[in-house]
Subunit: 412 residues, 2 copies
Amino acid sequence: MRYSHNLIKSNKEAREFDTVNATLLQKGVFIDQTMAGVFAFLPLGLRVLQKIEQIIREEMDTIGAEVFLPALVPTKLWEQTGRFDTVDVLFKATPANAGSAKRNDATYVLNSTHEDTVAPIAGKYMLSYRDLPFAVYQIQTKFRNEERPKSGLLRGREFRMKDLYSFHASDEDREAYYEKAKEVYVRIFDRLGLGADTVIALASGGDFTDDYSHEFQTKLDTGEDTIYHDEKEDVFYNKEVASPELQKATEGIQVSEVGNIFPLGTKFTEAAEYMYTNEDGKQQPVYMASYGIGSSRIMGVLVEKFHDDRGIIWPANVAPFTVHLVGISGGDDAVTAKAEAVYEKLTAANVEVLYDDRADVSPGEKLGDADLVGCPWRAVVSGKTGDSIEIKQRTSDAMELVTIDDLITKLT
Amino acid sequence: MRYSHNLIKSNKEAREFDTVNATLLQKGVFIDQTMAGVFAFLPLGLRVLQKIEQIIREEMDTIGAEVFLPALVPTKLWEQTGRFDTVDVLFKATPANAGSAKRNDATYVLNSTHEDTVAPIAGKYMLSYRDLPFAVYQIQTKFRNEERPKSGLLRGREFRMKDLYSFHASDEDREAYYEKAKEVYVRIFDRLGLGADTVIALASGGDFTDDYSHEFQTKLDTGEDTIYHDEKEDVFYNKEVASPELQKATEGIQVSEVGNIFPLGTKFTEAAEYMYTNEDGKQQPVYMASYGIGSSRIMGVLVEKFHDDRGIIWPANVAPFTVHLVGISGGDDAVTAKAEAVYEKLTAANVEVLYDDRADVSPGEKLGDADLVGCPWRAVVSGKTGDSIEIKQRTSDAMELVTIDDLITKLT
């Protein structure tokens, strides 16, 4: 993809925000803030988000079927679970003006999560013991009326999330499925570059359950959460549920949440009057759990973890492009032609290239932007590189002169 | 993908709805109605929707860069274009309960379209003549407070849409881009199976423009729109703008809208105070246009066009699976094992297979479901097929016995 004519820019004059991810993602014009807690994903940012979501999708497909549930639902769905009045991040949707009210003056809920919506759907079709267990997941936009959204992509009023819902004939079966889901989560965080630093902590169940929920927490000095390690039991606890003795006895670990799992018992299936028929023809309760990963939040966490004072250092699997190609022509058409040829050849070889073809930007600014954007490789074509291309990795200052064929071999 | 444990069902008891697409898509459990005009996309339906959207994405990538804009935006964005009080399908989002109001009592707009949101973003970054023209597009959920949503996926309160926005230094340049966009639209409708029957009609500009808008209309006996052909000028007009003489002189053609283009002039860029700097350093107005395709609506239109009394007949490019594999074991484990082996081999060969592995459903019901679901090929493994597989196309009753290798060759 070319810089020119594509809303790919840098905005190094952008102010410093409260967190590194908010600052770097906006200086790099990955995202643009529409209002507090709500961002537009521009071409560079959407590519990263889509790569994160595709990794999640591929892994989720091994344990569930993808669906796409509505954002806008009748209030009845939230009233019958008792949550319409208690979930304090809930938005409702109503007509915006007199003309709209005249058309239809009903009030709806904008889903902040989908337990209340999915249980009645499951209860319409999956009624036999032969249907259980099963799980469905979606990757979708969620809406939450956060009090003080901040921290860039870490806490938003509108954000992206993968949520999976599993349904079981017994709580033991739910436990067995949880072990499979845990393995899948570990694979996802590995592929996203967060693997080694990510642990499971027990936390409060909030509006969902009286049991512990399970949080996937990644170690991060600037993380919003603190967990404590009970070494005897080898269990991590979120500070909200860690016993005062543990908090005195051990040092807290700063972490950021990247996923969570809620065992839900029969709370939502009972509200939906969803029972299954067992082998003896008897009606039995259905056990449920939900499993979240905030995909846009993960994008923010990755920037918090992987950056230096020059910019972002994306893990290769989620980088917007593999190579950032910088043309430095100094007005020499022959150099421009060479850079164009390198771009065409790399693209033809299916290498993902971001090509800085801007004519009105200085070499220094282009090289600075390449560091800011944070692709794994940088390739420079200039009057000095002759028939070769100067390449370097984002994490190293060691440069190398290579031919186009060598470069293609290296990157494919 | 297997039927069992995957929320893939048929619901032949579902009542007849007002339109064929609503009836067949709900009997086939592609979609499930959450409320009037709002549907959940279940596994079969989401696969079709994703295929439609991927075709649109691939073609749009040739003329624009993909972005993802917010659904929830400040009312200010709609007030500054004068549309907050006039667009009568607009929803607003407010706190749902006292707790939510205590957190944050602001009112937002739920975007029904994104002209008002994208112009200020473009105006922040794309300020030089060197940046123009450019275009961004997104594939996203839209919210509209329809008075009487009906017709299944044809008119919803929540629906999926591709919207592209282009920005130009002059209205002539906008015209030139329009010709390119038109070609891309024609390619999209061709790939979706709607090509030959789709024409461009001039229509009202609505809230967007005083000019004509351009609608892509596909011929459909049950279509909601009527167009008239002015043979002298060889131009089609929507009935809302067709001159009474033309309506008297020619017969109306029933059609359904599958895309539209609005030339917007400077209405939205002026409201956003978005000007560009020309080569002489002077501030100049930016011309804009928007280009929509309703992807979920297209799914409904395809069913309206392509079905028979047994069910849906998906065009191959958007079918949920290439082949619907039906195992009819009659309780014979050897037949089940053979069906399983065929499923594994087809899957390993990257053929998209829907495998009806249900043990509690009769052969007749399985074959009926295959017709209802409408994949291009049906393959049956039973006690009668021996070492072979019985295959037929959805649109033909001619059956053939083939080996697994023959079948793989045929389908890849």
